[in-house]
Symmetry: none
Subunit: 410 residues, 2 copies
């Protein structure tokens, strides 16, 4: 609930968070409605949600200001008049005085008004409590919209309550996620479809494309002690794994830099990077992870040709003869940056990120990247689709993926 | 549309983006429905949306895989049979061949199927085109869920079309946004509240904090030719402007790099950057803007002390005596990088981004940044709150803001 969600000033992270938590609890989300601070729209969303779901989680609109009307509108729509809970009011006053050392503002007194028959969930992070209502066997929960408050109330109150009330009706979602890079969603889907039987039992497969690659997710819904789901997941995993293997990387965060960091650190290698069109993006991604100083010595962003020559010892002849976006320059940059930083490994990217700078021979999106490792250099060329940002992101990922493949195979 | 939105694997940033764009167009969003890849739920959401709105924007489910069913379900629900558009298919095949050098996969051929009477919006970033349908005077738009594709189609096709079709029914939100950096939201709000009368007419003020600063937004809803709103906005702007002035920068994109690019390019100066704790973030931000090669020569990421010495000519004595995070090292890095790149300006950042590496004297978040410009060097120290990512973002912004202030005052 909230105008700011519709107007886009706030991104609905609560929805995603509750979706994940509810799914792993075994209560998949059927739909999410986002409406503004308007009584008819709140009533409409509540009515529709009660038609299609057993549990309705409502967040937002429990605050102290005039546009916070969720508590009042829901109480009225469900025919549960609000009563002042004196004990709750005392508690709010005491806690406010402790935190802020001022009296509870009048606007916050409304937070002690409770719909008839509601269970009150104490809010340890903020002021407005959570409220749980039984509506003809279905459960309606009102929670504040501030993420930290919503999460605290969900963990401390809503989740235990749902487990207790719904018990054996819950079917948790068990899933396995495989990260891939370097293959298009449609090609991956085709190859997997080819090798897989029609009947996957309770297992479903989803493809989640990102700029940096495609995640493949297998999921099955089952009680935790049901061995059937795990057996089906094993069976499907065994079928898809050979297809995924050449493109797969194992990173809890989904970031291939995590795998690179592990390989580099465990083998005691060091890395330096040279970037042209990615302009610092590869270095930024590497250093985003804490601990990168263990293997990352540094990098050079050589935007100008002269800088490629001066800082990476790329020869003037190669630059002039082959052009800055060429296999030869990518190789020379990777070897040069490893040499000047005294690193065991060097990575380089040079390309045309656009929107300008393209030609018939080297259109926008043309990128050469190279990795120098243990005395060997490999270079690859790609033509990436998309705008400047997408080309840069895809180039950085392709270069990192090449480094990872060489680390693994070496 | 999409199971991954309900399950929370994807945060619905599209909803927020479209909400902002629609609001500024004069078409405030009434409600947002998120449903899974299920035909009855897609039909239900579409029917409800058509009941309450003049324009229905649908994103997601136009992709190549089996769970992408939005096109088919919407076409059927609206009684518009899908027809293969041969011309579109040819175009998709040609573009795919250019990008990937492989034939268009069978799954992608579905993207050339168009509901009867639909207008096709070409997708320049990806494959699936946008589709626009007239439904008894209301407009239904189908867009892919990949954010870059959705945004490209919205900008290039949907927005002009809505302007043309809805014209004088639009009541745009007229707003003026002031970007500030270097002052906290609460301090800014306090100072503005002090100097402003209770009655602002139709104007409302909002504070939008970001990691890189706080945007102050004045807004009023009015037709473009209504002089009343403009007069009120002028009046309020005149009151807040003096408070904002020291922290303000004028950039359409909200990115201070835009201002720096303008100053550098118009004055014919060149820039090089040296980064330690920001690890490439400053260079990435500078090169994110097309045309940066006009003034940006390059940069060095010197994570290791040895690299600071070798590549930036920072003396061993200064590094040993003062430590890598010190005023002296920041100054030496800024001057060194300008010298080795032969640039008129040098920018440097060195700090403790965390989570490790802090001490009592230099806690996590301690950052020294320096700018060398026209023979003068200025250095500043800040202790930034937040986790590693936040410290890095704030450090990059602070260094860029220092460069901008020096460019403006020089």
């Amino acid at each position: 609930m909230g105008d700011e969600l519709l107007a886009g000033f706030t991104v609905d992270t609560n929805g995603a968070w509750m979706g994940r938590r509810a799914a792993s609890l075994g209560l998949p989300v059927r739909a999410r409605f986002v409406v503004g601070d308007s009584a008819p729209d709140i009533r409409g969303a509540l009515a529709r949600a009660l038609e299609i779901a057993d549990v309705v989680l409502v967040t937002g609109g429990l605050g102290p200001t005039g546009d916070d009307i969720t508590r009042e509108v829901v109480a009225e729509a469900l025919g549960r008049p609000l009563r002042l809970d004196e004990e709750l009011l005392d508690e709010l006053r005491t806690r406010w005085a402790t935190w802020r050392r001022t009296p509870l503002p009048a606007g916050n007194e409304r937070m002690a008004r409770v719909p008839e028959g509601a269970l009150v969930l104490p809010n340890r992070v903020g002021t407005a409590p959570g409220l749980v209502l039984d509506v003809e066997g279905r459960i309606v929960v009102l929670l504040p919209g501030v993420p930290a408050e919503m999460r605290g109330l969900f963990d401390g109150g809503v989740e235990p309550l749902l487990r207790q009330r719904l018990g054996d009706r819950l079917l948790p979602l068990v899933h396995r996620v495989f990260h891939t890079t370097g293959i298009a969603e449609s090609s991956l889907a085709e190859r997997i479809d080819e090798g897989i039987p029609e009947n996957l039992g309770p297992v479903s497969i989803a493809f989640l494309p990102r700029l940096t690659g495609v995640d493949v997710r297998l999921s099955a819904r089952a009680t935790p002690d049901d061995p059937r789901a795990a057996r089906w997941l094993d069976r499907v995993e065994a079928l898809v794994e050979p297809v995924l293997r050449p493109y797969r990387y194992l990173a809890e965060s989904g970031d291939i830099v995590e795998c690179i960091a592990e390989e580099m650190t465990s083998s005691g290698r060091t890395l330096a990077v040279a970037e042209s069109c990615t302009g610092g993006l590869v270095a930024r991604r590497i250093t985003e992870l804490a601990g990168s100083s263990e293997y990352f010595l540094g990098g050079v962003v050589t935007y100008a040709d002269e800088a490629k020559r001066a800082h990476l010892e790329v020869s003037r002849d190669v630059l002039a003869g082959k052009g800055a976006v060429s296999e030869e320059v990518a190789r020379a940059m990777a070897e040069g940056v490893a040499r000047v930083f005294g690193a065991g490994a060097g990575l380089a990217v040079t390309g045309v990120a656009g929107p300008g700078g393209g030609s018939a021979e080297k259109p926008v999106g043309t990128v050469w990247y190279a990795v120098h490792l243990d005395g060997r250099t490999q270079a690859r060329r790609s033509v990436f689709p998309g705008a400047r940002r997408a080309v840069r992101e895809r180039s950085a990922q392709a270069a990192l993926a090449l480094l990872y493949r060489m680390l693994r195979s070496g």
